[in-house]
């Protein structure tokens, strides 16, 4: 089994708000991130797939296909977007880095040929990242 990681970058804005919380609760739980006008990050995405090395090609996965799927499913939908308003998952979920990693996993999982998704890592800043391994 060999693991292969492909990186991509995208920039997006978001804010954290739970409509079931009072305004005071929202401010207490989410702090500055509750500003309804939003704020932005340069996200770095790392997608790790795993599989056996194909003896004919020497590849775990066709990197071009992985790159295209990441572009089509994630970057086209999220790059230079306001996540809360423009990405369907975040009309009902708070666009935290945790939920972003889960959303990326769900967008990619069924689209990859041959290789299996191992890990999605999303960096919100160089000092904060979330890993999702598809665990329930």
């Amino acid at each position: 089994m060999v693991y292969l990681t492909r990186k991509a970058e995208f920039s997006a804005s978001h804010y954290y708000h739970n409509p079931d919380f009072t305004p005071e609760e929202n401010r207490r739980v989410f702090g500055k991130c509750n500003n309804p006008n939003g704020h932005g990050h340069n996200y770095t995405l790392e997608v790790t797939v795993k599989g056996e090395v194909d003896p004919r090609s020497g590849f775990v996965v066709d990197l071009k296909q992985l790159k295209e799927v990441m572009h089509h499913e994630v970057l086209d939908a999220m790059d230079h977007r306001f996540l809360n308003k423009e990405v369907p998952e975040f009309s009902t979920q708070i666009p935290t880095t945790e939920n972003l990693a889960i959303a990326v996993w769900q967008r990619l999982e069924t689209k990859l040929e041959k290789a299996r998704l191992h890990r999605v890592r999303v960096y919100e800043t160089p000092d904060l990242f979330v890993d999702f391994y598809g665990e329930k």
Binding site: N18, P95, N99, L128, V130, D131
Partner: protein, 140 residues
């Protein structure tokens, strides 16, 4: 859904690697330049990984304010700009980065109930890092 969240912190400290159980030549042979009696310093980078179910009401594994507060209070304020050898926990224990990472893991495990502590990873320089996940559990 279970997610793993990692936060990076930085601190700077000095240390000297020297074991009372070894002779002077043994210390020099084992620790090399790190045995210099005057000590030397590093800019450490600390990664703390916690995991748990993502709370649907917050979208979070745990509130970062709580994690940052604990790390600041229990780790950074203790170790940043300190001489590790002068601290009580390293009076009998050589302050290698191995021992520092297990010490930090144990401090955080005692103090953090909001999520599961997966591991700490400590970079001593850009060229070497150490991971500890508690017990014999392999780091993820």
């Amino acid at each position: 859904m279970k997610a793993h969240l990692t936060r990076r912190y930085r601190f700077s400290a000095s240390h000297r690697l020297h074991s009372e159980e070894m002779s002077a030549p043994e210390n020099r042979a084992t620790y090399g330049k790190c045995n210099n009696p005057f000590g030397h310093g590093h800019n450490y980078a600390l990664e703390v990984t916690v995991s748990g179910q993502v709370d649907p009401s917050t979208g979070m594994v745990c509130n970062l304010v709580d994690l940052d507060g604990l790390v600041e209070r229990e780790v950074l304020s203790r170790y940043d700009l300190s001489n590790l050898n002068a601290l009580q926990e390293f009076a009998q224990v050589v302050p290698t980065t191995e021992n520092l990472s297990t010490q930090i893991f144990e401090i955080l495990q005692r103090g953090f109930a909001q999520a599961h502590l997966d591991r700490v990873r400590l970079e001593e320089t850009m060229m070497n890092s150490f991971e500890y996940a508690g017990g014999s559990e392999p780091p993820r």
